[in-house]
Structures are given as structure tokens and as C-alpha cells.
């Protein structure tokens, strides 16, 4: 069995993020990392691998669309135990929206032909929580999203997921696409051995041409949305943020009294 995990290279969660007023795109010049939400998808793939009778027979492949330096961030997944990385990297892909990104990613996934494609809950820069549905449609595969509990048996996957009304249980035959929630598991930390071994695992960078995707299908040319302008959000009023120096609790109480909230 082959499991592909779609993982994104995003700005470090602790970094201040900004949109570049010139390009109106996210400023990606700072430190980047593997999207934390996707670490849960990697963990779930590894759990499925380890749960089977023959762990060796299950391959976990990380598939990512991003800049060259994303490869380094993807090594974290290899250090955790994933087998291989395929990075789709191409100047022409910059500025891709949902339509264009899903096309490039679907092409890479077609090439892999994985039995199960896993996604994380959301990219921390786009907050879309939508890409899987576009990719599943392009791959013409059944989809289960927002999965908080996943089971795999007899060529089927079964996912429990939350909606506005409570919990659904959905089943789909493989090959399928599954997007997991951030509560599905506690991701492991890479071991020292894992970290040492990661560098030696196969890491392939492919271009869009390699995947048979033409330049006008990706990037700005292949996108169907655009950004017109950037602006400040309406202020919500005064917000105060203090460091706890041991008096944090007192400060909260004072604030509540001042606001007559207590």
C-alpha cells in the first residue's frame, strides 16, 4: 500500500506574517516550516503503516508544492518516519490559487498513484481548509474531510468527523482522499536516529513540465482569483497584552473589576 501525505511549507507559526504590498502575496522571505496541521497527517500515515501486518510493505510519500527550500522543512516528516519526499517546485507556480494549486498537486498525486491521500486540517497561511475537495475532484476519488478518527480495513477507510450538527461516520473504498483534524493524534517527535537517517532518504524535486502541467495552468495564469487591495481590519477597540511576571492573575482581576465584569 502507498500513502501520500500532502504537506505545505508555510511561514514559521511564531513569525510575524505580512502580505507584501507590492505583489499582494504572502511575504515568504522569513523562516519556514512544515505546516503543523500537516504533521498530524504525517503521524496518521505512520500509524496506519505501523498498524498493518507488514509495515515495510507500506510506503509513506510526502507530496508538496512549494519553493526549493521547502525540501529542508519536509525532512521533518522523513525524520518522523516517512519514506520519501516529492517536491513540486517551479517558478511558474508562484501565486497559484485553489484552481491552479489543485491542478499541480493532482498531477503529482496521479503520478504516485497512492491508495490513500492524506491532507492536514488547513494551511496556517491560507486558512482555506478546502484544497482536498478540489484535489479529490480532479483525481475522481471519494473524499472524507475533517476526520478526527480514522480506521482502515478491508480496502476501506472509515472516518468520524465533526459537522455543525455533531459527528458523522463516513466510509469510502480505496483509493480515497482523507483530510484529518488537528485532534486526530499526538504527533511523535523525530528521534535522533530518525533525524540522522532523514537526509539519506529519497528526496526528489520535480518541475511542472515533468508532470505534464503546462505553464498557463498554474501560477497567476492558471488562477481564477485575484487580490485587488490590502487594508487594515476595523479595530475592535483597545486590546491589552501583558507578560505574566507572577502578577498575571491579579492583573486579570483588576481588569475584570474595572470593566465591572465581576
Amino acid at each position: 500500500m502507498k500513502i501520500a501525505v500532502c504537506a505545505k511549507y508555510v511561514p514559521e507559526a511564531t513569525a510575524q506574517r505580512r502580505l507584501d504590498p507590492q505583489t499582494m502575496r504572502l511575504d515568504r522571505s522569513g523562516e519556514g516550516a512544515l505546516n503543523q496541521f500537516d504533521v498530524h497527517a504525517v503521524e496518521e500515515a505512520l500509524k496506519l503503516k505501523e498498524a498493518g501486518p507488514e509495515a515495510e510493505a507500506v510506503e509513506v510519500v510526502i507530496v508538496s508544492l512549494g519553493p526549493e527550500r521547502a525540501l529542508e522543512a519536509m525532512r521533518k516528516a522523513l525524520a518522523m518516519g516517512a519514506d520519501r519526499v516529492v517536491l513540486v517546485s517551479d517558478e511558474g507556480a508562484a501565486g497559484s490559487d485553489l484552481v491552479a494549486t489543485s491542478r499541480a498537486l493532482a498531477a503529482a498525486l496521479e503520478r504516485e498513484g497512492a491508495d490513500l491521500v492524506l491532507f492536514g486540517q488547513q494551511a496556517n497561511d491560507s486558512d482555506g481548509a478546502v484544497l482536498w475537495a478540489a484535489v479529490a475532484d480532479r483525481l475522481q476519488r471519494p473524499l472524507i474531510s475533517q476526520v478526527a478518527e480514522l480506521a482502515h480495513e478491508n480496502g476501506k477507510v472509515r472516518g468520524k468527523r465533526q459537522t455543525e450538527f455533531g459527528y458523522d461516520v463516513i466510509e469510502a473504498p480505496l483509493p480515497a482522499v482523507v483530510a484529518v483534524s488537528d485532534a486526530i493524534n499526538e504527533p511523535r517527535y523525530p528521534s535522533l536516529k530518525g533525524i540522522m537517517g532523514a537526509k539519506k532518504k529519497p528526496q526528489e524535486t520535480v518541475s511542472l513540465g515533468d508532470l505534464g502541467v503546462s505553464a498557463d495552468e498554474v501560477g497567476e495564469a492558471g488562477s481564477r482569483t485575484e487580490v485587488y487591495a490590502l487594508g487594515e481590519p476595523p479595530a475592535r477597540g483597545d486590546t491589552v497584552k501583558i507578560e505574566d511576571d507572577g502578577s498575571g492573575a491579579e492583573k486579570i482581576l483588576e481588569f475584570l473589576q474595572e470593566k465591572k465584569a465581576i
Binding site: A136, I144, I184, R224, A229, K241
Partner: protein, 320 residues
């Protein structure tokens, strides 16, 4: 402009957010139509008419009974193939996000999500989208038609216009792969568990608590303040706390006088359920946590230090 609004329904009722989006579409002008997909849903068309739809396309089919996205993409594809609609609007939900994104791929149509407003400006449709944890607003648009948009939950209030809709039956052809996923058990409204909607004070706990046992800290503080306990999806999904206490897009919408968030990052999907609270206090050890963007008073620190102390202080002050 000729828009189509995707109407979501559950247990025989149209969703409030869908009706709100319908009202917004009517306000934008042009022709406003709606689409209802399900099994035995024709009866809901009249209510859509009262909320601004002039025509409702209805597919009643057992294959559409379960709220699964993929057959709905097929249905919308064939409806849009008949031509005419330049804009398709969805109220964001777990279901409609997957429908909208699947449709975007199917039609190579642009999708903008998490919009909090739509307006005609200089002859083009512009979506207002708060981005990067609501730290910036972006005006977004589309370069082709149809234009697809997901509207952030809770954005528009429904308003009756008193109109009536013509019902047009449709019989979409569904694809095999769209029917491959099967609903084994469908969610239904749970009435058990605590009610948090009427509470004046809410203390909410998130994954920062570290484990279900730490909810005791939150419960103690809530008790001292005379309030109710709430939770994020992350801890509900993990089984630390009941779903009935969840605040956010897929949980409850609350507006207490005081909301205290403990070990909660403050994701947008959580924020939409509590942003209208009177006073928001946050305790989080990460100074960059998004919740500090909208908390009236935030303390950067360890909840295990701060919460028990705060509980003691509140108790002492109430006793005094």
C-alpha cells in the same frame, strides 16, 4: 448579475446562514436564484422564496439524502452548465466548503473563501476577506465566471422580503466516484450536555490544558465566576470534553458578558463563535497566539500558574 445560492438544510430546516447569504445576494441586486439538493426537500423552497429567491432549483433524490459533498458537485455542475449564473454563493460549513472547492476544480472556477462581505465596486464584484488571523483585510476578486464564494459563518442575518419562488425540478446525473463515499452514521442535533448559550460568563478551555484532567482548572474558575465551561473543537475531537460545550463554527455561537479563553490559540473557526462576547480575556503562553489580536485583556503566561491563582482571587473577592 445572476446569482445562485446553495441552500443547506438539516432535519427539514433551512440553515440560518444560507438564508442570510440569500438575503445578501438579494441586496446585491440582479436575479437571485437558489438550489436545494436533498431527498424530500421541495417543501423548503417556499421559505427560500420569502428570503429573496425568485426561483429555486430542486433535486429530490435518495442519492442526495446524506449531506455528502461529491454528488452535490455533480448536481451543481449540470445546473450551471445550463448557463446563466455568473456567481455562486455558499454559506461556509463543513459540507459547503467541500462542495464549493470540488466545484471550483470541476469548472476551473475561482473560489474565494472566508468572505465577510461582498460589494459591487467599479462595476466588478469584490469580496472582503480578513486574512492572516484577521490581522489584515484583503479585497479579492475573480478573473472568470462563474465566481464562487464561501461566506464566513454568522456573517449575514436572514431577512424576510415576502417574495415567492418558482420551483424548477432538476434531475442531475451523478457520477460513480461521487457516490463511492457512504454515510454510515449521520450526525443529529444532540440535546444532552450543558447549555452554554445563555451563560453570562464562559470560561473556555483548549488544547493548551494538556489533557482532559486539566479541565478541572477551567471548571473551578467557571464555578468561582458563576459561569459555564466551554471548549474548542480540538479538545472535543480529542474526547476531552463534550461536543455540546463547543464554541465556534461547528459548535455554538455565544455572546456572554465575559469570556475567558484558557490555552486556546484563537483560530478563526473558534472566533466566529465568541467574537460578540462583551469582554474577552485570554491566557496563553504564546505571545503570537491569534487570540491576542482580539482579546480585550491578554496575559502571556502558563495557565497552570495563572488559572488556579485567579480562581483563588475571585473566590476571595466574592467572599469579601
Amino acid at each position: 448579475m445572476k446569482s445562485l445560492v446553495f441552500l443547506e438544510h438539516h432535519e427539514g430546516k433551512l440553515q440560518k446562514d444560507s438564508l442570510g447569504v440569500l438575503g445578501k445576494a438579494a441586496g446585491l441586486g440582479g436575479e437571485v436564484e437558489a438550489v436545494l439538493l436533498g431527498d424530500g426537500v421541495e417543501g423548503l423552497a417556499a421559505e427560500a422564496g420569502r428570503h429573496g429567491a425568485s426561483r429555486v432549483h430542486v433535486a429530490d433524490d435518495v442519492l442526495l439524502a446524506a449531506p455528502l459533498p461529491q454528488p452535490r458537485v455533480d448536481a451543481l455542475e449540470s445546473l450551471l452548465g445550463e448557463g446563466g449564473h455568473d456567481t455562486v454563493l455558499f454559506a461556509a460549513s463543513v459540507l459547503s466548503a467541500d462542495v464549493a472547492a470540488g466545484l471550483a476544480a470541476r469548472l476551473d472556477a475561482g473560489l474565494n473563501w472566508d468572505l465577510t462581505d461582498l460589494a459591487e465596486e467599479d462595476g466588478r464584484l469584490v469580496g472582503k476577506r480578513p486574512a492572516l488571523g484577521d490581522s489584515i483585510y484583503v479585497d479579492v476578486g475573480w478573473t472568470s465566471e462563474p465566481r464562487l464564494a464561501l461566506i464566513r459563518s454568522g456573517t449575514f442575518e436572514p431577512a424576510e422580503t415576502g417574495g415567492s419562488a418558482e420551483v424548477v425540478k432538476i434531475e442531475p446525473r451523478l457520477q460513480d466516484f461521487s457516490l463511492a463515499a457512504r454515510m454510515v452514521e449521520q450526525a443529529h442535533e444532540e440535546s444532552e450536555g450543558p447549555s452554554i448559550e445563555d451563560a453570562d460568563v464562559i470560561v473556555a478551555g483548549g488544547r493548551g490544558l494538556g489533557g482532559p484532567e486539566s479541565f478541572a482548572l477551567v471548571e473551578e474558575l467557571a464555578k468561582a465566576l458563576g459561569g459555564a465551561v466551554a471548549a474548542t473543537r480540538a479538545v472535543v475531537d480529542a474526547g476531552w470534553y463534550p461536543y455540546a460545550a463547543q464554541v465556534g463554527q461547528t459548535g455554538k455561537t455565544v455572546s456572554p458578558k465575559l469570556y475567558v479563553g484558557v490555552g486556546i490559540s484563537g483560530a478563526i473557526q473558534h472566533k466566529v463563535g465568541m467574537q460578540s462576547s462583551g469582554v474577552i480575556v485570554a491566557i496563553n503562553k504564546d505571545p503570537n497566539a491569534p487570540i491576542f489580536e482580539y482579546a480585550d485583556f491578554g496575559v502571556v503566561g502558563d495557565l497552570h500558574e495563572i488559572v488556579p491563582k485567579l480562581t483563588e482571587l475571585v473566590r476571595a473577592r466574592k467572599a469579601a
